[in-house]
Amino acid sequence: MERLKLVLQYFQSNSESISNGICIILALVSVKLYTSFDFNCPCLPQYNKLYSLGVMIVPPIILFFLGVLVNRHTGVMMDEWMRPVGNRSKNPAVVKYLVSAMIQRALLAPMVWILVTLLDGKIFICAFSLSVDPALFSGAPNNTGLDMIKIMAKVPCKEDVIFRNSSFRKAVSRYVRCYSQAVGWSTLLFLIILGAMGRLIKPCFDDHASFLQTRYWSNYLDVEQKLFDETCVLHARDFARKCVVQFFEDMREDTILRLQHPPFIFNSKEGWEEEEDRLHGITKQDQMNQLLKKWYYSKPELDVTRIAHRPKPCVTWEDLEGEILYSDV
């Protein structure tokens, strides 16, 4: 349990590592989505390309928006960008840093989807089987009465009748798939080179000192917002407690007046003082019923000034000569 707490604390202390974690989870979700999605090429000349390119482009856009949505930094960045200047000057470099960090993280899941589709090859086969020159391959079925375009359009569909006894379909698929995988690997290589170059060259152009500053202040903004939310929650809790206790004690004041007796600070058996305190002076069924009824019909106003600034008894210790040794006043 202790170890779990430590791990949680570590992750929550560093907001960047939370964002990285979420980013990686989204990439895994993207892979899982692709494997569970039942790709269904229409095998018709007019619709093949449209369908395949749609499946290759629309999900990455969705994943990008999702990545921006679940990132905490989006809220922080929008707040910082849109806030009025007030007493705190605005630093555009911080906003730029937050935007670039957010976009980089959001682009990971779409990239993963595109790479997985390219390396798998189904989508390329569906889209570009029409563009292949059938003369390159032997065994094209020519007794079906369909024109060549329609036959090529049917290549992505394994179970189609016309390809039953020929290896034509497999040959064309393999050919297009090679292309697809080549494009996939090249894209991956290109991205990695881009990332590496960016990392290596950036210090030459950017001022590292100001980069450290922007990074510090963007992290600060994130932590500040988190702490503000936490403080609000704690405050609401205290406020609610005091409001409720004040409500109970307000009902009590009536009781004391009826009894015509001021409350004593009495020296009773141990433990009972605490119990009596928790009663807040409500000691009868009628009182309790009235309290519960009033809670619904007329909730107390949101003002706990009385209980927050209640006078406390102050003790003054004097020695035998009357000299003050200690005083709460």
Partner: protein
């Protein structure tokens, strides 16, 4: 301070992540239910469309309502909406905020169901197989010779594998309709994500300050309700403890309990004193039987006396207690008054 932070984080994350957890569980349940459900197209022209559209629409509505039922905030919202104004003004923006947050969470499971249904394609196939144009898929001359009703009946049987003879046509048609279904599914997902993106990313441009206020006060209402329940529980516990304690005192007689009270001077015999005290003067079997009998036949009134056991105020207390008892416990304990009187007359 660290422990406090941990506790707070747990509490706060507990509240929100509890609701998010329920959301996630419902979404998974929705996806699992779809895969476990056996889609069974009637393959008849009159019923195909009704069956499929029903399956596309009714379960999402059910999940939506279930989301409302499982969400605690719904009762908080309803309470805040219906309460009389009293001394606390009502703020309509808070109600709107709470309604929005509850609705957003409840919409996730239905969205999952609709998107899984569309991606799977069976429901679209069942609904729209009648509207297909067979000429698109090849040269099927036998269709042209059929009458309209026969053609429609034939098309209606496309979703059922075992009822349709022309395998090629069936496969081509299913593939075509499934494509359209999946395209609709992706567009649906895109619309939802884009809307959520607009709401989340663009909202801060408009109403940030007011938003912080409504967020704080809606959270406050929730916490206040919990605090009230907690305070009532604590109060009930203390009430019960003191009531039972006083009941035992009454039944055993004030004499026995007052014999025990001066031991506050004696710190050495702490343990013994507390054990003796716990007996509350009941030491014999008959006494205990009487206690138990009376607990059933005549429970004490729900009205507590104030206990004034300070030895300095003994005499004062005697009178005070008598008076207080008289005023507070109008109808009960005629016995006690007599005992009080008897005791003090002996002193």
């Amino acid at each position: 301070m660290d422990k406090f932070r941990m506790m707070f984080q747990f509490l706060q994350s507990n509240q929100e992540s509890f609701m998010n957890g329920i959301c996630g569980i419902m979404a998974l349940a929705s996806a699992h239910m779809y895969s476990a459900f056996e889609f069974n197209c009637p393959c008849m022209p009159e019923y195909n469309y009704t069956y499929s559209t029903g399956l596309l629409i009714v379960p999402p509505i059910w999940f939506f309502l279930l989301g409302f039922v499982l969400n605690n905030n719904v009762s908080v919202l309803a309470e805040e909406w219906r309460r009389p104004t009293g001394s606390r003004t009502k703020d309509p923006t808070i109600l709107r905020y709470m309604l929005c947050s509850v609705t957003q969470r409840s919409l996730i499971a239905p969205a999952v169901w609709v998107s899984v249904t569309l991606m799977d394609g069976k429901s679209f196939l069942c609904a729209f197989s009648i509207n297909l144009d067979i000429e698109k898929f090849g040269n099927y001359s036998f269709v042209r010779q059929m009458s309209e009703t026969e053609k429609i009946k034939l098309l209606a049987r496309i979703p059922c594998k075992d009822l349709f003879e022309h395998e090629e046509l069936r496969v081509a048609a299913s593939r075509y309709i499934k494509c359209i279904s999946q395209a609709c599914g992706w567009i649906f997902l895109f619309m939802i994500t884009f809307t959520a993106f607009l709401i989340r990313a663009i909202r801060p441009c408009f109403t940030q300050a007011a938003f912080l206020k409504t967020k704080y006060w809606s959270h406050y209402i929730d916490i206040e309700r919990k605090m009230f329940d907690e305070t009532c529980k604590e109060h009930a516990k203390s009430f019960a403890k003191v009531c039972i304690h006083q009941y035992f005192e009454n039944i055993s007689g004030e004499m026995q309990s007052l014999h025990h009270h001066p031991a506050s001077k004696d710190d050495g015999e702490d343990d013994d004193r507390s054990d003796e005290d716990k007996l509350l003067g009941i030491r014999a079997q008959n006494d205990m039987n009487k206690v138990l009998w009376n607990w059933h036949t005549s429970k004490p009134a729900l009205a507590l006396r104030k206990n004034f056991d300070g030895e300095n105020n003994e005499k004062l207390n005697g009178k005070m207690n008598g008076t207080i008892n008289g005023l507070a416990n109008g109808h009960a304990c005629d016995m006690e008054k007599k005992e009080w009187a008897v005791y003090y007359s002996k002193v």
